[in-house]
């Protein structure tokens, strides 16, 4: 596709909104995802994202407002998960799995029971980034600003907790409160972004950019910044590819991000091999020399 055609596409408001939504999702996911990855709560975050579907079912079934109901439901599920994981951070997989499945199933059943509502699970899974209404953009803008401000405000405490929880506790960092706060922030971010780009893309943007970024930076702040850049790159190039080849946008972005993920693994592997070969060099060289002298 020519560049001129690309610029032409920018004239459409839905394209501009889609780009903006991808940008905002990348910022929120870059910041929150970094904390998710270094605190090893990827599985927990996936659990929250899926359990939140129960909130959507509840909203439609009861006829309540969509956003507040879903956020409240996701926060409730998140706090239960935080409660069971706060004592033993890495060993509560089972309970997370159960809440994950229960939330999702509740959502499906409630939507079944709602008369006249046609369930569209696909749009929850993959979102509809091309039909984002401006109100959702505003909501993401607000949540994004709040998340960035909170993370910068508590940055040193979050860093200390993520790196060495016990030491942070001894230094007087309110670790338990901060952990609940972090999980709550994950829940809020996830719900707001799912609405726009879908659950699968949220998990991809939450984990892939921070995972790639982690190896190339030496601070949490740098990891967040690089994650945002990578997220923006993935979503913009994904959107361009989706537009050019007429593909589902959310899935295309994920494929691009996934390719980036494996590419970074490959580069890492090649780098390591070269490093090993280089460090072997002097050894083999001296062995060769000794053979000559003898």
């Amino acid at each position: 596709m020519k560049a001129a055609e690309m610029l032409e596409a920018l004239q459409f408001e839905f394209i501009r909104n889609a780009l903006l939504a991808g940008l905002l999702a990348s910022v929120i996911c870059g910041v929150v995802g970094t904390l998710v990855v270094v605190n090893r709560i990827v599985f927990l975050s996936g659990g929250i994202a899926h359990a939140a579907y129960g909130g959507i079912g509840l909203a439609f079934f009861m006829g309540w407002a969509y956003m507040p109901t879903t956020i409240a439901f996701a926060l409730l599920a998140a706090m239960i998960m935080a409660l069971v994981t706060v004592r033993a951070r890495h060993s509560a997989d089972t309970i997370i799995g159960v809440i994950w499945a229960l939330g999702m199933a509740t959502g499906v059943i409630l939507l079944d029971l709602t008369p006249g509502y046609n369930v569209d699970l696909m749009s929850y899974l993959f979102g509809s980034i091309l039909t984002v209404p401006p109100t959702d953009i505003h909501l993401m803008l607000g949540v994004g600003a709040a998340v960035c401000a909170c993370v910068l405000y508590f940055y040193n405490d979050l860093l200390a907790m993520s790196y060495d929880e016990e030491f942070a506790r001894i230094r007087g960092v309110p670790v338990t409160a901060l952990y609940f706060f972090l999980i709550g922030m994950v829940a809020l971010s996830v719900v707001v972004i799912i609405q726009v780009v879908g659950l699968i893309l949220v998990i991809a943007l939450l984990t892939i950019p921070p995972f790639i970024a982690e190896k190339h930076v030496s601070s949490l702040l740098g990891m967040m910044a690089l994650s945002i850049v990578l997220g923006v790159f993935f979503s913009v190039s994904g959107l361009i590819a989706a537009y050019a080849f007429n593909l589902t946008s959310g899935a295309t972005i994920i494929l691009v991000a996934g390719s980036g993920f494996f590419l970074s693994l490959l580069i890492e592997y090649l780098k390591q091999r070269r490093f090993q070969r280089n460090s072997k060099m002097p050894g083999s060289g001296s062995a060769g020399r000794s053979r000559h002298t003898s």
């Binding site: 270094v38 060495d164 030491f167 230094r171 030496s218």
Partner: protein
């Protein structure tokens, strides 16, 4: 009258899953002391350390550090954990790790004052690690990381320094230098070190606390036959003699039990 102790433990009892770990612990540590907490694995010495740090709460009895519950005096104590291999992939520089030792409750925003940075650099210098400040913590060896963790613990000039098996990652030659450093720090700081290595310690420490469910405190490092007798539960004769043989270096040698 002795001045009020910096650490005062009275009739402490602690259990885990119904299993008593510490019973009837009484201990008072005076300012300037250098205490070795020794005892067998599973004897409760690390648990007692965690109680003194406020990470665990006693089931009965009381612990006072500077006359207050341990959790409230966090800025006056330093702590060097045993495990230095946590989170080695974490994107954080050595200097940022040391700066964690200067965290104060209520200080916010992603920045550190110039005073804190200076204090962190000075702490690294004291451990001869000043050149590593900008390196990622994961690039260091276990022994270097141990030094960084000590720098983190002393960055805020603590009045009490707790160390849990600090020489586990340092080779024998490095250990002597390490304990010399502790001796220098001890001029201003009370030191409590958990170790199972009685003999290396005995040349440096001022007193010994033997922990094996119960605690026996000895206000001198000289390990006497009398002491061996009293600390029977925590240092069976065989153990002590094996350690003595294993080292075979000129130390303040334990009197053997039979020679009495």
């Amino acid at each position: 009258m002795t001045p009020s102790p910096v650490i005062d433990i009275r009739d402490l009892y602690f259990a885990h899953n119904g299993q008593p770990i510490l019973e009837g612990i009484n201990l008072s540590v005076q300012a300037g002391d250098f205490v070795a907490m020794i005892g067998p694995n599973g004897g409760g010495k690390t648990t007692l350390l965690r109680l003194m740090l406020g990470l665990l709460q006693p089931l009965q009895g009381s612990i006072r550090v500077f006359g207050r519950p341990p959790g409230q005096v966090s800025h006056r104590i330093g702590y060097v954990p045993q495990n230095v291999h946590i989170n080695t992939h974490f994107p954080v520089t050595v200097l940022d790790v040391v700066l964690m030792g200067l965290l104060k409750p209520g200080r916010r925003w992603a920045r550190h004052g110039r005073r804190d940075r200076l204090a962190a650099r000075r702490a690294l210098e004291r451990l001869e690690m000043e050149d590593a400040g900008n390196r990622r913590i994961g690039e260091l060896s276990g022994g270097q990381r141990q030094r960084v963790f000590v720098a983190r613990a002393i960055a805020d000039d603590p009045e009490i320094l707790f160390l849990d098996e600090p020489t586990a990652n340092i080779d024998t030659r490095g250990q002597a230098g390490f304990y010399d450093l502790l001796r220098r720090l001890n001029q201003h700081t009370t030191i409590i070190v958990v170790s199972h290595d009685l003999l290396v310690l005995s040349t440096y420490v001022k007193s010994v606390a033997c922990v094996n469910r119960r605690l026996h405190y000895h206000d001198q490092a000289e390990i006497t036959a009398d002491m061996l007798e009293t600390l029977y539960p925590c240092a069976p004769h065989e153990t002590c003699q094996v350690e003595l043989l294993a080292h075979g270096l000129p130390h303040r040698v334990l009197k053997s039990h039979e020679s009495r």
